[in-house]
């Protein structure tokens, strides 16, 4: 592996310079001739019956070209998982922000003015906003056919938990709460939708799931799948949020009604109230350990708020239930998870996907166990580390595992030993670990894996086609590096095509930290195929055997006699001319060694590789305000092999920043069913002044199943950061944070209590 030339290099993103020049066209920058602008009328009530909608006045406003409501849709119930969505509310609105009507006009101002002219008569209904309250008998029902507001129930069990907890020397038992937070990507959700004369839709969306979203949208629009084309331009961040959302479908309905392209980009306010924020969870945990610190068993109960309709909440709750079971050598576990409807904005994927919430809880609990038993928290993790080349309690086949090295590196970087033994008042250090997946076979039934197409033109220029999604994390560059390495050409010869479902391979998309491993293996397979075809031509030109041909730095050569060479471009040209103009096209795919888990036990290896990480935070607490400042942060990650170390570091730093924001400042405040802070003034995300030095540390055990040994980084970058900070707060003050976000007022009150004792 040490003779890799491009993989492992910290090169700039291939599209970075364009972005610095403002030349990149994001979704919100696009326009088409004859385009209309749309705006959506949203429910002002958390739960109400719609008695009447009168759009007559709105239709007559000059510049308005269409007004749409439920009557303009096929009226089909659909959804990415549970089919409880409709494009517009039919006769009931179920959350503040629910789509009621929409306008397409010649400009945004007119569209917005028209919204004010739409008269809706509502009859308010009782509503419920907290998932625990929603489960109680007598609670208002969000959907009449879902008793107890239960959207889904999940159970998993292995071994004998009750006995394991009985046998423990110490059982820690507590309830935790992780709040609803907003992904806060800088470009709001939206799309540009066009329709052709045959009624075929072309969606230009910033979406993480181009191929999957077609399936849901074709159903919603009541058209065959081939009538939906999805193109993915560059877009401004996602962090999980940009999956299915009604904003795109409303746009399509308006496009169909007018026969013209329509663009709707959410206002920031609308994006807050009708985007898809994180699933809030109540988590009850029982964690048992022997006095030597060996974990015996764990039982958890998760209650997650889905909001008014299920996007992916039930998969997120189930992930919360059992992903951490493969972080340590658990043998006895039981988890129950409830996905509960509430009259609030539908929640969905946010970096970590349930594993963030549960990692916060487990790692806080581990800290309490360490404290009770008088064992160093880092040592406790190492004692229970699942380790490499093993199979976890749920049948996950862990090949590479760099957890121990992550713990060692992160603790060293912060000066853990020194700071734990020489404690300064109101200063502390805390540690937290995580595990994750690189792809999740359980998420999709059809198959998992990745595919690619590598096209080599007569000029030697290489174009890579993939089906995943670059939301800014650097997917394009990672794929380009992999292909450049495999073909043996300089990186600048590679371009990565925009994902267009008419041309690109079917890809499940970028989520579950799968992009680099699945998509990367897919394009690697395609590059290997393209190489084979070119090597035949080169062999001919060099009068050698195809098996004796290799390519480096843009030259094909005979192995062992590198002075006998011919430029890649010349080979490409000859190949094209020999084939009467047909380009070299390599197609390839990756079939991961995973299984769909057993329906009942959930047993089965669901991912080809599992990344691990360890975060260590140092904090200081202000005794006069209760304010917490993070002074220093080290984040060590087992990524298998970093395709681009600089980009991997950037992901880690971004993840830690989001974790810091979640822990110390971010909260969507709901009162009377309304989000009270739908804007950046009152929903605080970290600025440059809030982030300390973050030291990213890469651990590379080289994963056998990854492309050039790579696993993933996206979600693990965030997962341990919340509990690293709260464990540091515990070390600094003895105060255990059981609810996110940390409240300075509560810390101050607690500090005052202690002083008066």
């Amino acid at each position: 592996m040490s003779d890799l030339k491009i993989v492992g290099l910290s090169c700039p993103q291939i599209d970075a310079l364009e972005k610095t020049m403002g030349k990149t066209r994001f979704v919100s920058d696009l326009d088409l001739p004859n385009m209309l602008h749309g705006r959506i009328l949203r429910s002002p009530y958390p739960h109400a019956r719609i008695k009447r909608i009168d759009t007559s006045r709105a239709k007559t406003l000059r510049g308005v070209r269409a007004v749409a409501t439920h009557a303009d849709t096929p009226g089909i119930m659909f959804g990415p998982r549970t089919e409880d969505w409709s494009i517009f509310a039919k006769d009931r609105v179920r959350f503040c922000g629910d789509e009621v009507a929409a306008v397409a006009a010649i400009d945004e101002d007119i569209a917005e003015e028209a919204l004010d002219l739409i008269r809706v008569e509502y009859e308010e209904l009782p509503y419920v906003t907290d998932p625990l309250e929603a489960m109680k008998p007598g609670a208002p029902l969000v959907h009449e056919d879902k008793p107890g507001n239960i959207g889904a129930e999940f159970k998993i069990e292995a071994g004998n938990v009750d006995e394991a907890l009985r046998n423990a020397d110490f059982v820690y038992e507590e309830r935790y709460y992780t709040n609803q937070v907003y992904q806060a990507y800088l470009e709001p959700m939206g799309s540009l939708v066009d329709i052709d004369s045959s009624g075929r839709f072309t969606f230009r969306i910033g979406t993480q799931i181009p191929s999957m979203i077609r399936i849901t949208y074709a159903k919603a629009l009541d058209v065959p799948l081939d009538k939906v084309r999805v193109i993915v331009p560059d877009y401004g961040g996602a962090f999980g949020a940009k999956m299915e959302n009604n904003v795109h479908l409303v746009t399509a309905i308006l496009a169909r009604k007018t026969g013209r392209p329509v663009k709707i980009i959410n206002t920031r306010h609308d994006d807050f109230i009708a985007g898809n924020p994180r699933v809030p969870m109540y988590i009850d945990i029982k964690l048992g350990a022997t006095r030597e610190g060996m974990l015996t068993g764990k039982e958890v109960r998760v209650v997650g708020g889905a909001g008014a309709r299920v996007v992916y909440a039930q998969a997120i709750v189930s992930t919360a239930c059992y992903r951490v079971d493969s972080l340590y050598r658990f043998q006895h576990v039981r988890s129950t998870g409830y996905t509960v409807y509430t009259n609030t904005v539908p929640t969905s994927c946010f970096r970590g996907f349930g594993n963030s919430q549960m990692t916060f809880v487990l790692e806080s609990s581990m800290d309490m166990v360490a404290d009770h038993l008088g064992i160093d928290p880092a040592e406790l993790r190492i004692r229970n580390d699942i380790g490499p080349n093993t199979v976890s309690v749920h049948g996950w086949e862990i090949k590479s595992c760099g957890l121990k090295e992550c713990v060692s590196k992160a603790t060293q970087a912060i000066g853990w030993r020194e700071k734990r033994s020489n404690r300064r008042p109101l200063r502390g250090v805390g540690l937290s670990c995580c595990n994750h997946v690189s792809g999740n076979r359980a998420f999709v039934r059809e198959f998992d894996g990745g595919a690619g197409i590598v096209r080599v033109g007569r000029d030697g220029r290489v174009t890579v086609y993939h089906g995943e999604s670059d939301m800014g994390q650097g997917q394009k560059t990672a794929f380009a590096q992999i292909v450049a390495e495999r073909l043996g050409v300089p990186l600048k010869e590679i371009s990565v095509a925009e994902v267009d479902t008419d041309i690109s391979p079917f890809g499940f998309g970028s989520f579950a930290t799968r992009g680099t491993l699945m998509g990367g293996n897919g394009v690697l397979a395609a590059a290997t195929e393209a190489f084979k075809q070119l090597a035949e031509v080169a062999a001919d030109m060099l009068e050698a055997n195809a098996d004796d041909i290799d390519c480096r730095d843009g030259n094909f050569f005979v192995k062992g006699s590198p002075e006998i060479k011919v430029p890649f471009k010349d080979v490409a040209e000859k190949a094209a001319f020999d084939r009467h103009g047909a380009p070299i096209v390599g197609t390839g795919f990756y079939d991961p060694p995973t299984v769909f888990p057993d329906a009942k036990t959930k047993y089965g290896n669901i991912s080809p590789a599992y990344p691990f990480g360890c975060h260590v935070a140092e904090v200081e607490v202000d005794p006069d305000t209760g304010q917490v400042t993070v002074l220093n942060f080290a984040a060590a990650h087992d990524v298998g092999k970093a395709i681009n170390p600089m980009a991997t570091e950037g992901q880690i730093q971004g993840g830690v920043a989001q974790g810091l924001g979640w822990t110390l400042m971010e909260n969507m405040v709901t009162e009377n069913g309304k989000i009270m802070n739908p804007g950046f003034l009152d929903y605080i995300i970290p600025t440059a002044m809030d982030i300390p030095k973050i030291t990213p540390l890469l651990v590379e055990p080289v994963e056998p199943n990854g492309p050039y040994g790579a696993k993933g980084i996206g979600e693990p970058a965030l997962n341990p950061s919340m509990s690293a900070i709260t464990n540091a707060i515990y070390n600094a003050t003895g105060i255990r944070i059981k609810e996110l976000p940390v409240s300075a007022e509560k810390i101050l009150a607690e500090l005052k209590n202690r002083r008066s004792d």
């Binding site: 806060a184 920031r268 730093q653 920043a657 003034l681 440059a688």
Partner: protein
Amino acid sequence: MHVNNEEYRLEVEPNRILVDVLREDLGLTGTKKGCGEGKCGSCTVLMDGLPVNSCMVLAVQADGKSILTIEGVATEGKVHPLQKAFAEKGAVQCGYCTPGMILTSKALLDENTAPSEGEIRSAIAGNLCRCTGYSKIVEAIVSCTTDESK
């Protein structure tokens, strides 16, 4: 007004905001809209050398002023050292905050060629970034200061 050293004479409705005029009337889509409320900094342009949130400036307020957008930062085909540094140091991920971030940084360095890291972080505090955690953005700006040992 002058935009990127070119003079424009426009007739605009008095309620139109600068960011929309730049993006829609002049086709300069490099300036982004992230919130429309003056909170995220994605719409930052330089007005007579000072960074402003162009979503909070009425177009008519730019009358007689000199505006610099991201499209005007590279001159005569040469990218600005900040643009090169941002690209090379990994300070660009999704790129949506990047134009605003670069303009704010340029205004800072035009006024103070050797700011401290604290001064840099304070200057860009009005430019939100959700992807990078700011670390590599600060590194990129530091690399463009005259005293690189800071």
